[in-house]
């Protein structure tokens, strides 16, 4: 299960999607929208994706995690659109024979997702709004360059 959705994420669906009789551990990571960031009181967050490419990159990350660890199954769901405070914006479930691999695979998946998947987050706070990361410098990610982690 790899998808974008504009509806609330139901984590039970990810648990079901990664259920496997050979898996002794499932690690579920849920990213939540927080009411504060860098000293600002955040009202809500809004996510925008490049559909197609975002799903393709998510598939690629899941494949990569499955090659690096003996994972049974991986599910990734990312919410798009306005997400009120205190709700899930992203959820990842990884099942494996043993917990160590499940933890590692889930950690890798969320870290990599935040580096490469074309999904943007806009933070609305008291008195304004900002696209997170927009203040970064001029150098972009180019394929096969150091800026895009190879692992």
């Amino acid at each position: 299960m790899i998808r974008l959705t504009d509806e609330p994420i139901r984590v039970d669906d990810l648990m079901s999607a990664t259920a496997d009789p050979a898996a002794g551990a499932t690690v579920l990571f849920v990213g939540m929208t927080r009411d504060n960031n860098e000293g600002r009181n955040v009202d809500r967050l809004e996510y925008e994706a490049y559909p197609g490419m975002a799903e393709r990159e998510l598939e690629r990350i899941a494949d990569e995690a499955s090659k690096r660890w003996p994972v049974a199954k991986i599910a990734i769901v990312h919410r798009i659109g306005v997400v009120p405070i205190g709700e899930a914006s992203v959820a990842i479930s990884a099942s494996s024979g043993h917990r160590g691999d499940a933890f590692e695979a889930a950690r890798f998946t969320i870290d990599r997702l935040k580096e490469v998947v074309p999904i943007w987050k806009k933070e609305f706070f008291e008195g304004g709004a900002v696209w997170i990361g927009d203040q970064a410098g001029k150098e972009g990610i180019w394929k096969n360059e150091g800026d895009l982690p190879s692992e």
């Binding site: 490049y50 490419m53 998947v117 074309p118 696209w131 990361g133 895009l148």
Partner: protein, 81 residues
């Protein structure tokens, strides 16, 4: 040759459009296009970091563009700790 350029997030807001057609000359690379856009679009001259994807794949700066390519300008992705 014509390519389709897609704008997202801060770039969509800055330029006031989701996409546009753009004429390029043969041999134009991804890096050339980005340089042209930064120069020609006032909204982009002050834009920060931008990556390019060609037909839904991150590309190398030296990649040559072709007629009909879909070029996405990708500002920094969501990040967060």
């Amino acid at each position: 040759m014509k390519v389709q350029i897609l704008f997202f997030a801060s770039l969509r807001e800055r330029t006031g459009q989701k996409s546009m057609e753009h004429e390029i000359s043969p041999g134009t690379t991804a890096a050339d296009l980005l340089e042209q856009l930064r120069r020609d679009l006032p909204a982009m001259t002050s834009a920060g970091r931008i990556s390019l994807a060609v037909n839904e794949e991150y590309c190398e700066p030296t990649q040559e563009l072709h007629d009909g390519d879909e070029i996405a300008l990708i500002p920094p992705v969501s990040g967060g700790q």
